[in-house]
């Protein structure tokens, strides 16, 4: 049993309006970043958990996404394992 850090990126589904991305896009343009042509915003969730293997942790993370972390109607998700050191959780 060891600790693993999962990085879960929860992203708005393509085609759905992403008002936050739109507002940021607008703001970047106002600041002079004319080269930006699209912005979309989602959530990133870092989960630190104990599991026997990295694969077991990934399986759990996927279950968490389906159960609670992502909204299947409006969001997609991606999961990666990331190093825990110097990382985020405190």
């Amino acid at each position: 049993m060891s600790s693993h850090r999962l990085e879960i990126r929860v992203k708005p589904r393509p085609g759905l309006l992403n008002p936050e991305g739109k507002a940021i896009h607008h703001a970047l343009a106002a600041l002079g970043w004319a080269a930006v042509h699209d912005v979309r915003v989602g959530k990133v969730i870092y989960v630190d958990m104990d599991a026997d293997t990295p694969d077991a942790a990934l399986v759990e993370a996927e279950a968490m996404c389906r159960k609670i972390l992502a909204n299947p109607v409006t969001e997609d998700f991606e999961i990666s394992l990331v190093p825990a050191e110097g990382g985020v959780p405190s």
């Binding site: 309006l17 609670i68 409006t74």
Partner: protein, 765 residues
Amino acid sequence: MPQDLVTSPLPRPTDPPVTPELVADHGLSPEEYERVLHVMGRELTFTELGVFSAMWSEHCGYKNSRRLLRLLPTEAPWVIQGPGENAGVIDIGDGYALAFKIESHNHPSAVEPYQGAATGVGGILRDIFTMGARPIAVLDSLRFGDLDSPRVRYLFSGVVAGVGDYGNCVGIPNIGGEVAFDRGYEGNPLVNALCIGLMKTEDLITASASGVGNTLMAVGARTGRDGIHGATFASEELSRDSDEASRPQVQVGDPFTEKLLLEASLELIASGAITGIQDMGAAGITSSASEMAGRAGNGVELDVALVPVREPGMTPYEILLSESQERMLVVAEKGQEDEVRRILEKWELEAAVIGRVTDDGRFRVLEGGVVVADIPALPLTQGCPTYEREGVESEEVKALRSADLSAHATPSGDLTELFLRVLGSPNVANKRWIYHQYDTTVRTGTAVRPGGDAGVVRIRGTRRGVAATTDCNGRFTYLDPRRGTLAAMAEAARNLACAGALPTAITNCLNFGNPLKPHIYYQFREAVRAMADACQAFETPVTGGNVSFYNETDGKAVYPTPVIGMVGVVEDVDHITRAAFRNPGDAVVLLGRNSAELGGSEYLYVTAGLVAGEPPEVDLMAERRLQQAVLAMIQAGALHSAHDCSDGGLAVTLAESALGSADPGDASLGVEVTLDDDLPPVAVLFGEAQGRVVVSCAPERLDEVLRLAADHDVPARSIGAVGAPGGALRIRVRGAAVELPGERVRDTWLQGLSGIMDAPHAAGA
């Protein structure tokens, strides 16, 4: 473009052929399609089929409701705008008019509660500000299954967050609403939102495309692929796999853009640069453009290639039927297009010329100059076939209604314990878990916040206020649609009177199952007839509303739920009256008469899981006298509080008045009353007899209150007195009593809903 050249558009290369199957998929019956062909005089293109199917859907075309809705009274000297526009408008005096309307967003909320509810609020706000009125308050009327289901808790919390976040961001205070939890709504939540807006009488603008040669402009957000065919979707039942199948139909709301659109629209209207404006709501550009043309008796021509889109490659079909939020269609006075652009630009929004008003009565759509749809506007908007269906009452409901409840009149346990169960039921308990998520004080007009009988907003610069409430007891309407609807009307009017307002007009949201089923149509017909009668009796005309059919999951319909949104005028803010007792020692007076009616009560649901019996009887004339009596007492300055008796019955009403807001800093008071009716104690405490109000007054005004009641022929009697801060609740009924320390009453009431929703297990979908 000369009309004779363009009557028959060629199909676009990528369009599917219009087959009978495709027609059926679009929700049009073979007979209806025959009618379409007759109107058109030729075969349709795919784009035209999409347009017809949206406009002739239940949602836009009112196929199964229009005939009955004609029964509703819509006129009165104070009605400025009746049904048919984006919202109704009434004159409220002092040069002001009030626009108000209620809308459902049931299906979208069942699929994605947060966005469904949020966009529901967004839509109703647009209906108000496109009339030229500034939204001043929102109310929300919600129904869900029982809260022991995790899915229901997920829907409930998502809906409340959605209603809240949208209105909060735009900055419109929520002043009330209602919520009910009952297995009758499992799988099919009802989410209805009401908005009221204020304007100077002369600022009214209507949604019509007048002035041939004027310019059509698309304003606000861009058009995306979201919510295509929402109108048809709203006209179908949910099936088990709707969650999966409906994904592309979810619309995401952007309240920030809405706020900008609100300001820009009001500025546009004030500028005189436009002659008409309409929200692109259900069926998007199609309905807004064709309806505006239809109302003016004109035609419109627009080019989808000119519509600002969010995604490349959108077809005319998609652009015409997209229900992307926060968009408007504006008719600009010819030559004023730049003025429109300037105003929109100030608010950081887009405005694009997409077409013009024509004189040929046609709804014509081009794609880069090539005609893709050419339809006569009037048959499209007005020609949808309407039906009167067969209506037969369900035997099952008849049986439930005639159930023998006599065994329940004998308490199944200690009365005090039973009282706590009723008081702590989420249907009765304090609703702060909901309205603490809603901004209720923004705009500094809210005189009575959610938590009382009706919300009240004062009108700055005058002595006046407006009050609003939403009401419907779905169990009553299920057991007897006629009585239930009368009760909803009566409760709404009582709520307003208790707040110090004269009931003035209504809007309604008729939430029912599939009208093709005779027992559903029966419910609908009886409800509409009853509403018409009550509107006559109360002199509260209908100025608009909304019909939501097909609220069914796997063939099971929700309770028929005709939600009444009623508004009233407070002559003088000094008349504003609240439900909470004010002074220890005040006399407590019961207006109206107790009865032995337990049918459809919360008591039966909580103690026996029953929805059965005859719902309480409603005497419209007695209700009217009661409202007038309460208003007379209030206007005489005789009352310290007034609270309508509804869910949970008299014991709950007394407890609510005693508890008051239960906010920190507001003392709850005790109450001690004796009810000596010759009736079963259970019925006196928990029966939901109509026509009752509990008022309190200084002891020296008691005689006057009783006399005013007698003048109005309203039964009245002093039943006890208000107790000390933190004092006990004591209700004596023939040899028995409910007796509790104030603290216990308060905790039960405060925890009934919050306790469930804040528990750790409440998380999850």
